[in-house]
């Protein structure tokens, strides 16, 4: 079999003849010949249209354009799983199956377990430091100082603390007030012990009472106690590290999409869990849990309007891509929980 030999000292190509007998490769050059045992040769199968490559222990390289694998030369090589996957329809099917299996295991088992472990081992003050940084960024980009009077703020904090006390719950959060024109009435929980309430949210319930704001705050407290912001923070970091950088081979495709869809589901479940937490606390403190559903309806009217959440068809389609479940779905679930709690 004809081949080209490159000695590694110059780029000159030398034509040689190869023959194989009893695991011994004979290389015949124009003026000399030499034999090599197969164990002393590194063999690289043809890759695409490239030739089969033999690397001799002397550093010389032989390219065999007419051979695809070692078997073509008369040498026996073990089959490798990688080569099987890279060739043919069966390899394709196995690759797809492996991919689907791997993604499922990662999404349903590995990521949640990993998040829980990291959340446990990280010291509490790390999240408070993260809060400081987040708050600084939000204050620079989104928020301004509150315009609420000292009296209004105190009233809300007092109401919240009283409910907590009655429910026998620990007061382990710091509630901060901020104003902004760049977002709808909102409250948000940071990864540490901070809950932020916007002035617009407080004003929304101005005609009602401080209990309404407390009801919304309990939902946020639910996010805090259940570690949702922490989990989201760790999950985002994990996906960035493992998907974007570790695999490096297929950014922006399958696994990232799974990650994104998983995140949506994760977030929707968290909303339901925080709703349940708020309803339980309100009930334990002796307050009417329907304060929460009323507050939610009022917020929905203000934020999105009623039309969309009652459009069942649009909801069916969009429910898969919403990070928050629709208010009607939350209210339905809340009603069932209230019935269970007040039995």
């Amino acid at each position: 079999m004809k081949a080209l030999l490159f000695d590694g000292r110059s780029s000159k190509a030398e034509e040689v003849k190869l023959s194989v007998s009893n695991e011994i490769l004979m290389v015949e050059r124009p003026l000399s010949s030499k034999s090599y045992h197969v164990d002393d040769i590194q063999i690289e199968d043809a890759f695409g249209a490239s030739p089969l490559v033999l690397i001799l222990n002397s550093g010389e390289r032989i390219e065999v354009p007419t051979a695809r694998t070692a078997v073509d030369l008369g040498l026996v090589r073990n089959k490798k799983i990688v080569r099987f996957l890279e060739r043919g329809f069966r390899g394709f099917l196995v690759s797809v199956a492996l991919m689907a299996f791997g993604l499922t295991v990662i999404a349903l088992v590995v990521v949640p377990e990993f998040i829980t472990v990291i959340e446990r081992i990280l010291p509490e003050n790390v999240f408070d430091l993260v809060d400081e940084g987040t708050l600084r960024t939000l204050d620079n980009a989104l928020f301004e100082s509150t315009n609420l009077s000292e009296e209004d703020r105190e009233k809300i904090l007092q109401s919240f603390k009283e409910f907590l006390k009655k429910a026998g719950q620990e007061d382990d959060v710091t509630i901060l007030f901020r104003s902004t024109e760049r977002t709808f009435p909102n409250a948000l929980t940071l990864a540490g012990h901070t809950i932020i309430v916007t002035d617009d949210l407080v004003k929304l319930y101005k005609e009602d009472n401080a209990d309404m704001v407390s009801a919304i705050l309990f939902h946020e407290l639910g996010h805090h106690r259940l570690g949702h912001a922490r989990k989201a923070l760790i999950q985002a970091s994990l996906f960035t590290v493992f998907i974007g950088l570790f695999t490096g081979d297929f950014s922006n495709t399958a696994l990232q999409m799974t990650g994104a869809i998983y995140q949506l589901k994760f977030s929707r479940e968290q909303e339901f869990a925080a709703d349940k937490f708020a309803l339980e606390i309100l009930t334990e403190s002796g307050a009417d849990p329907r304060n929460y559903t009323t507050a939610l309806k009022k917020l929905e009217e203000k934020v999105r309007g009623r039309a969309f959440s009652h459009n069942k068809e649009a909801y069916e389609i969009l429910s898969w891509v919403q990070t928050h479940p629709s208010t009607s779905e939350r209210l339905e679930r809340a009603e069932k929980i209230i019935q269970g709690l007040t039995k």
């Binding site: 110059s10 695409g48 249209a49 490239s50 991919m99 791997g102 297929f250 399958a254 696994l255």
Partner: protein, 349 residues
Amino acid sequence: MNHTTESSSHVHQIQFTGSGSEYFNIWLANVALTIVTFGIYGPWAKVRRNKYLHKNVSIEGSALDYHADPVKIFLGRLVAIGLFIVYSVLTSLFFPWNTLGFALLIAAYPILVQKALRFRYRVTSYRNIRFAFRGSIIDGAYALVFYPACIVLSLGLLFPLAMKFWRDYQLKNGSYGSTHFGYSMPLKKFFVAGYLSHGYLLLAASFVGTLTFLSKNDPKYIDKLDPAYVYLLLPLMIIIFVWGLLSHVFRLYFKHHLIWDGLTVGPFKFVSTLRFKPCVWLVLSNGVLILLTLGFYMPFATIRRNKLIYTNVIFMGPGSIDGFVADSIPPEGAIGDEAADFLDLDIGF
């Protein structure tokens, strides 16, 4: 294939023999094995991918080869991930680290790029002779940090100068065996290429800058504007958008000409024969198909792109290419390469 154009000059056509369906299977196997091994197979996948893409580029019947060791890449990635985590934690926890961390990154940038270039040249071979990169970190610091920092003073208008410094550093310091690369390209070509490829960013920046200045931080400034002005702004925004899309074509076309038309290896030189029209078709069709297939067309797009890039380069010089001689340079670790990849520095060829 080779033929003689003059009595002493041979033209060697570069060929790319990769196939989309073949590469798709390799890509898919890489993805599957990377997933089931939770990322550990990543470096091996990278080596398989690069081997396929290198081994299918041939000149005079001999192909390039890629020799990176996946184990070294794996260790490099671990170190790079460690550095990234430390950097992320420090910058998010301690405010001064934002500034200090940025300064450290700037200082590390030329080191990472120099090591990455050394690694990438070194792991590539042709006819059993390795390529090498001989640029120093100091030269890299001038090309990548000092000169670009000076260009900032021109409000970015002289940015094509930075492109030239980078190409000079990247290409003039290369060698094939013991034969040094040469690189020469008139500055005006960088200005034409730079402004057509990235000018829309300058236009967008001046547009946003002017609006910010006029609005004096009033977020409702646009709402208060006379509708007639808004209609005037609309064509400008469309121009920026269309130019932004076309910039991908300009980048492909000009990058090809800027690199290959100026590169020499000893008495041999490269010439780009790439025309503009195939670039438009390639960029548009690849973009649309990648979007429609949610990214699964990517391997086919890579092959089509490489085919266009390599089959439009000719290599010419006096006679055969048998006369290059090897050189010896100590092997380079993969950490620089991986850390540079990890921190998303664009140092590809």
